[in-house]
């Protein structure tokens, strides 16, 4: 059956623009965070197998590779969180005019990068030394 002339997702129609890139990034970070739930699950379940298993998980996450992944997920989380609030504001009827879309987009970028660096600075402070 022919389904008629259905609309496509915005990012399939337009050439990449600032606002559409932000929108794809929300989806990409959502998918990346969904993959991150595997590490989250590994971390929490490892503890239920006892001290050695938990120590192994902590060492893996604290390794250079683990920290690299975790840094990516921190940035993804803060971006998705901030842009999620932006989404919720639109749903409440605020901020969908083009100038505001652009301005809040920049706010999301700056705030998510700032929060990521603050969290990591705090993490290194807790760890003590480099």
């Amino acid at each position: 059956m022919k389904s008629g002339n259905r609309p496509l997702s915005p990012f399939l129609m337009y050439r990449p623009q600032f606002t559409s890139i932000l929108s794809i990034t929300h989806r990409l970070t959502g998918i990346a965070l969904a993959a991150g739930t595997l590490l989250f699950t590994y971390w929490l379940t490892s503890a239920s197998y006892g001290p050695e298993a938990f120590a192994r998980a902590q060492a893996l996450i604290g390794s250079v590779f683990g920290r690299l992944l975790l840094f990516g997920w921190t940035l993804a989380l803060f971006y998705h969180l901030c842009n999620g609030i932006r989404h919720l504001a639109w749903d409440a009827g605020w901020g969908f005019e083009l100038p505001r879309l652009k301005a809040t987009g920049w706010v999301v970028i700056v705030v998510s990068i700032t929060l990521t660096f603050l969290s990591w600075a705090a993490g290194y402070a807790v760890r003590g030394g480099a």
Partner: protein
Amino acid sequence: MEMRSPLGRVRGLGSAKDGVAHWWAQRVTAVALVPLTLWFVVSVVSLVGADYAAYKAWVGMQGNLVLLVLLIVILFHHTQLGLQVVIEDYVHGEAAKVVSLMVIKFTVVLLGASCVLAVLRVSFGT
């Protein structure tokens, strides 16, 4: 422009088959996740390099356990709702769609249940 197929119009449902409920649940879980994930980041930072005893003491505190269980349940619910939309956008063909949606749902419930059981076990100490 008619945006819906004739069958879709007869069924009176969106692509998620329960459109408004799905949309609303995605928003409610999103709102709840804002404070919960912020609390979780602060907690993880405080647990950097922690050994088992320190983790057990943390998860043994009533308030932490409650927030952690809430985070797990709401996070996996939000993830399932989100991935469902992604699948509905990119996976075409009814069978492939139904199978992928089921795989996501089963996986999310399995992971979520494992997390909840794990934190309860450590918290109540076995």
